[in-house]
Amino acid sequence: MKRLTLVLLVLLLPAVTVLPQKIPAKSVFGASTGVSIPLDEFAVKYFTWDAGFASLGPNFEAEYLYYGKIFGFSSSISYTSIFFNEKAYQSEYDRTLNGYGTNEVTAGNYQIMKFLVGFTLKTPEFSNTEVMLLFHLGYGVAMHPNLLVTNSEFGVINSVTRNAGRGAVASMGLKINYWLNERYGVSLNGTLNGMSSGFIDETAPDGNFQMPMNHANINIGFVMNLKTPAL
């Protein structure tokens, strides 16, 4: 209940602060694409607690922003596909099994869909440029890939079946919009995304596990002002 109240307050804050800003608010749609970079445990590529063996991957994001001179709110939907580093994973088996037998790893990609809402703090526009900080909270659905490891002497030594997990997401980002004209602009943004998702591993004694999936996105895209006179 406390968390829900906190979220509602976060959402209401921009609404009450945008109104007194005395300049026309912008209603902006943006779309961007770029690269996702796994962070922390998600990026670790050796056998240790919570290691994700995640590599880079592409992401796509659509967002809506409504803001005045300084304050605003924003929301976004994004899809991220992060490659599982099969080579690094295999080399860990080669190491821990001292080269006994031949190891083979096949794996798909991690996939993450995020739904975020939050508020923005921005600088006043200068030279057709806006610099804004984005603070988002939301919900994520993540997909753990199929993972199969076989050893020529032992057979299958590890397997995880593709399955979906869910978890809360928190995100903080820096976004720069450069307006080419009143209606269109280009954007560059970088975000840090914190997420942890539970997954099922039917072959594990506990049957499930939790995986931190923190990652950063660096995107470029375009923005479109939906409240120009032409519209």
Partner: protein
């Protein structure tokens, strides 16, 4: 700095972790021999046997060593320890934490003691055998100049072996030649306890089969039928049989090995043993490998645990104990 930013924007959102993704579905005991360095000494350490709990990941090991006599006669030495087995890192390690048991005071002498064999499991094979009773410690000793097989009752609790009764010789099996390394073969004959042991009564060391009297433990039998195994033996020395389930492992310097004594195995199909097979170059070397025994690991490991001794280079000196994973058969 990056983590600090997370703390600013991600307060109290994450549920606590309830486990990590495991990188192994089951444990794998290292398939390449690992020196039991926490036990071995610069003297000869070999001829081991142990009690092991996979649920508690603890073990109690007994082995022969001439460390106490600084290289003279062999006595039994024992250690308790624990197993670290990690399905995330793949690590498997056996290490010791304590040593010394009361049982050893009852069986160690000024002569040599070899070939320890502890019974306590498989009570369901014997209707007259109840768990916690009739625990026997078989071994061989040479107070008369030649090795004879002995038995001593024991109790085991809280990781501690204590003797129950005095040691006695298994006269139905012993001769004026060397006998030792008895290993029970559970369920081979209905109503009779059967065992294998080594003897040089016919010249070279061979593996012999023995059956006790009907309805009696072999250690209670006044007589026993003893037969030389034709399938298991060769013209060379065949020694130290140890049976785990349907598999016998033993040491032999027969042809077809890697040099010196090698470890071999044979599989029992319910009525006969298969032709012995060398355990391979991952385990055997041109040096001596000796007195293996296998511990079943159940469903939690892809392979079984085997402990043996070897005088290969790289150890602490003389014979050292090694542990290794071997395929389930």
């Amino acid at each position: 700095m990056k983590r600090s930013l997370y703390f600013l924007v991600i307060p109290l959102l994450f549920t606590s972790c309830n486990g990590s993704r495991l990188n192994y579905d089951k444990g794998i005991i290292p398939p390449v021999p690992v020196n039991f360095s926490s036990i071995n000494s610069t003297y000869d350490d070999y001829n081991s046997n142990l009690q092991l709990s996979w649920t508690e990941m603890t073990f109690s090991l007994i082995f022969s060593s001439n460390r106490n006599s600084f290289g003279e006669d062999f006595d039994f030495v024992s250690y308790g320890g624990h197993i670290v087995s990690d399905l995330v890192s793949g690590e498997f390690e056996m290490s010791t934490v304590s040593n010394g048991y009361g049982l050893l005071e009852a069986v160690n002498t000024d002569y040599n003691e070899f070939g320890p064999y502890l019974t306590s499991d498989f009570p369901y094979y014997f209707p007259w055998y109840k768990e916690g009773e009739n625990r026997r410690f078989f071994y061989s000793s040479d107070p008369g100049g030649n090795l004879d097989i002995y038995c001593c009752g024991y109790d085991f609790g809280d990781g501690e072996f204590t003797s129950s009764g005095d040691p006695f010789a298994l006269t139905p099996l012993n001769t004026e030649h060397n006998e030792g390394y008895l290993s029970l073969h559970h369920g081979a004959m209905a109503g009779r306890e059967t065992a294998y042991f080594m003897s040089d009564r016919d010249g070279s060391y061979d593996i012999y089969f023995a059956a006790g009297e009907e309805g009696k433990l072999i250690s209670e039998s006044a007589t026993a039928s003893v037969i030389r195994s034709s399938v298991l033996n060769s013209i060379a020395d065949d020694k130290c049989p140890y049976i785990s389930g349907n598999v016998m492992v033993f040491a032999s310097d027969r042809e077809g090995g890697f040099g010196g004594f090698d470890l071999w195995y044979s599989v029992y199909n319910g009525s006969a043993w298969s032709a012995p097979v060398n355990l391979g170059g991952d385990i055997n070397t041109e040096y001596d490998e000796y007195r293996p025994f296998v511990v079943p690991t159940g469903e939690w490991y892809v392979n079984d645990l085997m402990i043996f001794s070897s005088d290969r280079p790289g150890g602490k000196g003389g014979f050292d104990l090694y542990y290794v994973g071997v395929p389930k058969r």
